[in-house]
Symmetry: D2
């Protein structure tokens, strides 16, 4: 830990799955990295006073509030960390930026392109005043993913020909799984597409250094009607940290009340990248047996890489410049001190977990804020992802017709 006394007082909005993951990262980051500022877990915010009080105590925040507007404007808060469902990202973030707070906002940046555009514009304005903003695509900071980016950037893969990316889960295969907020368009924006598809869109663009220019997509909702959640506990709490639905409708009836699923269960699309690569993408919550299976493979003229989030400490690298008889996919255990982010952790072979990607994210965010640099991915980067999501949705609505992705920069400029 540095000898610095500089503190960054963090106020976090939300305390469910993402809130817990972020808390673990804020708690840990200065214990393992030597940084120019220390994060202080100052204030946590949630709508239910009892629950947020419990969360503050359990997760280790100094204080709590039920009013996010208070949080984003208090003088003793330097950083606002937005961990709420997507429907409130824009409002909270815009207020925080307006109040001069540095902002870390969970992905997807927003539920609509319009919101994301507004947020990116606000971030650009705030940046001029020294305010930093970052979107939480944490998987960029899995060491093996960061290493993929380095290999591509160093030219080790040559010209990229193919990207194939899947993010597969199976937590709603059971038709009796309740209609949690992640299955409601007004709360979540979209389903598998925005929740997990956004990750593979960002990750593959980051790793290749190329942007998706157009897509042809199909989406599907396999189970169109689901029981409403019974309350704040039960299945909902056991799955993905999801909060229950608003409860509208839970009062009625003799059988269990049901509601309509308004988001996609799965989205598949083919795409072209601006460097000439062909790509396939699939995001699904109906891939039985796949729990958190983000898998990316990239083939270039000189080599290939494969990454699997369920084995996130490993990277498979194929180097086609090696002697022919010795070529093969090399399983690199990305746990050496020389690997990205790993010098702070354990000896080689002692693996890290999912949560560490957040710690790495906080490390880079703190460093950027403390040194006055711009962290990545920026809101503009996240807007670009949103534009891809939008193109996917439009293509699916228009019978899979080829749909070009609007350029993010032009959009921001406009």
């Amino acid at each position: 830990m540095s000898t610095t006394d500089r503190q960054l007082r963090v106020g976090m909005v939300g305390y469910a799955f993402m809130g817990a993951a972020h808390s673990q990262a804020w708690r840990t980051v200065n214990r393992v990295y030597d940084l120019p500022a220390r994060a202080r877990m100052a204030l946590i915010c949630g709508r239910d006073a009892g629950k947020v009080a419990d969360a503050a105590d359990r997760l280790g925040w100094d204080a709590y509030t039920t009013d996010w507007r208070e949080l984003v404007t208090r003088d003793d808060i330097d950083v606002v960390d937005v961990c709420t469902p997507g429907d409130s990202h824009a409002e909270i973030t815009l207020a925080a930026l307006a109040a001069g707070k540095h902002v870390l906002c969970e992905k997807p940046l927003a539920n609509t392109v319009a919101e994301a555009r507004a947020m990116a514009a606000a971030a650009a304005t705030a940046e001029a005043a020294g305010v930093r903003s970052m979107c939480g695509f944490n998987y960029r900071r899995v060491p093996a993913a960061t290493m993929m980016r380095q290999l591509v950037a160093d030219g080790r893969l040559g010209v990229i020909r193919h990207v194939r990316a899947t993010y597969l889960q199976d937590w709603i295969v059971d038709p009796q799984f309740p209609l949690v907020w992640r299955l409601q368009k007004d709360r979540a924006g979209s389903g598998a597409l925005g929740d997990i598809g956004a990750h593979i869109i960002d990750l593959t663009q980051y790793v290749t250094g190329q942007l998706i220019t157009g897509v042809s997509a199909v989406t599907e909702t396999f189970v169109k009607e689901r029981p409403l959640p019974a309350g704040s506990s039960g299945l909902a709490a056991t799955v993905d940290g999801a909060e229950p639905a608003d409860g509208t409708g839970s009062a009625g009836g003799h059988g269990p009340a049901t509601g309509t699923v308004t988001v996609d269960d799965a989205a598949v699309f083919v795409a072209r990248l601006d460097g000439g690569a062909l790509a396939t993408y699939e995001a699904s919550r109906f891939a039985t047996g796949r729990k958190n299976a983000l898998r990316v493979e990239i083939n270039g003229s000189l080599g290939s890489v494969v990454f699997d989030l369920e084995r996130l400490n490993e990277l498979e690298f194929y180097d086609a410049t090696r002697p022919a008889a010795e070529q093969g996919f090399t399983r690199i255990l990305v746990t050496e001190g020389g690997h990205p982010y790993m010098s702070a952790w354990w000896p080689p072979g002692h693996i890290i977990g999912y949560e560490h990607s957040f710690t790495h994210q906080m490390r880079d965010f703190i460093e950027a804020v403390a040194t006055g640099a711009d962290p990545a991915p920026s809101f503009a980067d996240a807007l670009q992802v949103q534009l891809v999501l939008d193109a996917v949705t439009r293509s699916a609505e228009l019978g899979s017709s080829w749909t070009e992705v609007e350029p993010a920069l032009a959009t921001v400029a406009a």
Copy 2:
């Protein structure tokens, strides 16, 4: 071996990669399976007298000819095995059927839908006269693939939700790899799409028992100009058993003459199956590091299966009806006596190879012919694959627009 004296005298046209693989299968099948007829390797045909004489000697055929028309009409031939490039399938096969010969034709059935339609019609006509025909989608007979089909047919996967299929190779990543016949549209019909894409189309339809109803596709030719092959030997012979191009153009110039690649290097598409599943398909010869990587994953409401041709003795099966804490992908070593086709081979754990799929194919073909049953896949089945290939091509030409697959039966009927 059975005590039968009944012989099936086989005449094979072609002696390159497929010819060698079929020869090994014809030679072996009656040595390991007890069948109602014995195959006799009677006659082999090729255009070059010297080469086909060598092939007859090396591969163990009784005699050879350079005239396929003689082969398909000789009285002492019962079965015609068509192993030529796709541009001659229709002509040879139609002549053989007309001569009353049973026909085994390599895939893809033809280079065009029109040819395939004619072949399927001829096969239907011939069938009434007791003549059998079959298309060589040999991967159906890899035991693990057959077992996938059985699991789906037994309802073990429940409702199929997702199919993801890739067939990846990398033998033309080098832009200096020559313009062999497989890269020429007039010989091969298409590129990766028809050569290897056809396999995953057939295999996934076979395993799921569902047909592809529509597609949205992108194809690409990454390297558009390649050197012409120098002759009948050299690289061409070392890669995939490919025969050299016709040599048109090889006469000219001081530098190496080049020619235009007229087929796709890669094809990707999303699809819907008639049972409600979403699917993604990718066929590529530019996937560096992937040598013969046919990989199929199918997710259903009750389970999933994964198959990888580079580890063809294995099947991964996820059974979601097992106790939650014990669920996982089970790596089944498909080498038990009770597994499809395996009773004839070695003890458990003693693996088989690529060529065995052809031996299994010959086993089923001989049995069907000898017992008067119809072997599968029929020419009608193969026509249906051709219709999917055609839909993919048309979609790619029309900006990835959604393109429905014509029903094969209606086509044949018409």
Copy 3:
């Protein structure tokens, strides 16, 4: 987090690799588990005042001291956590137990059987006074390892026939790697045998519920002379958190001073377990490419399990009671809420890392102390491991002759 106000004030001795790992666990445990007491990171101890002050600040301890005797006797300390090299375990632990402190002692329990015997006896005496003690064989608390134990205990493996256990590393393959304390017998007791071999001895005995009765062993020191460490930084600090050697001899000469490696680089032995199983064990620091490869396979009459620490979120389970054609090793992703320790962490498929085993250990230790139960593994359990280590050493010294393991209980009783 529970609403309890009960605190357990922890004093930790040592702040290197194990100290950092334990700190992360003490810091986290009450944030994720609801427990009857809260750990307070009260006091840390090390010999160098400057370094321990830095460690206290970095790792988050309230205070520090350079006098472990003060630490073990202070009234405001409830728990003593011993993270020093093995040569000081006995002295510190005995003093702590005498002072009525609960003790968590890192493994191996001691450097000699005599010390371990004294510690186990002291623990037994202290237990009568309500003082708890536990040895830090943390790998028992990797969820997949705990699940192995449950499967065996539930009879799912039937009669155990085979145990094969390896713990392979490669951090001293380079003969220029310096003579750190882990390579010195007077500090470490033994080499690979006690450092990592102890883990697989404990783990396999725990999982099978059987004890090793006899061994036949070979040990080897491949590189017998190594350079002395240059100082407190450098390679030594980068490898396995090792502290530098004492510096004896570092004064001399013009070339780098060297010293003699006094411990084993590798130990291999065959063994019998008291339930009738045959076993093989191997611990090595010379297994090039193996970083932290603790791998255990157990075969029983009804099933088998395989565990690999480099993929610690996975357990392979073979259930021979399943239908023959469906048998295979099932890769269970041990990340479900129903899996041991996992309800507190992330959704399924979001993996945990090495450090989590320590958090689970602290959880069970806190619970035992708070509820007055005896935590496992006890010092008696750890003494039994020490007796196996001793038998291995004696067998190796006596030309691999079969050497019986003394019973731990009898030893303690005497």
Copy 4:
């Protein structure tokens, strides 16, 4: 196929599992390799006239006999291929060599050291007269295994430190599996040790180029009494091609008659190699879930290799001279034209199976015989394996005491 007319007329004794595997290899070898002589499947021998007639017809041998003495002395036989159980190897082989026949003898060479010594001596004598002999350790000819040898020979692994070899099967885990000949000492010599342990002894010595100098061993027979086989068919025939026991004792009783298992079910031992490496070996028929799991890992100062017979087309190679951040186990698909033996087979990624190792063996044997070279492994090599087996047996009988392996050459010389 070569244009040669030179024939090698083969007479094979035995027609069970090994007989079928050898037949497939003799039938195939000249179809895929261009060799200076052609094998002719001339004569097959077995004790039961009806069965051997069937085998001749099924496997494709020109003629059969029930008298092996006739076979080894007939003028029209050039090569004798001995595929019987081990108790008849010496008698048949000695007679064949005396008759001037080239001999290929299955492993293990004999049931006793004395027999093996006599055979090696006879082979040395016969060699002077131009008669070739070879022992059938076929796994040396799995391309990935051959490649391991090349890597070691080329110095790519540096100084060998560790060998760990296991050959695990599970076909007699069921105590009701009958007492086939492989479980009888007078027929098989030993159990798992000689049947499969011999393979890993030979393979590791071949790959490392080092010999085992001493061992410390434990063996076990877990199930000591088994039912006698009911007859010539039934379970016995379904498992490993085993022939039934002699039937002694099958006459008696009302319940199923049983007999005593007189061989080991499992053997484990530690060893030293003459180049300084430590080694562990395990052979078992009680490793539930392991079907034919021959697995070898070798660690050297510069690299490591891993081979698994159930995935015999793959070799894992760790090259410690690569940049640190890129090191890892490379999964080489050993199917390239440049890999050992592979130029004759299919394109890259099209895998081969178990039986191909025999075809490769026949290729090298034919070439050696035709060119007057000495094939390997020689009978002297096989005698050395027998001496290791003998040392293992003696060590196990003497309480695992360290037992040195007698030098084979000295033995032969004497």
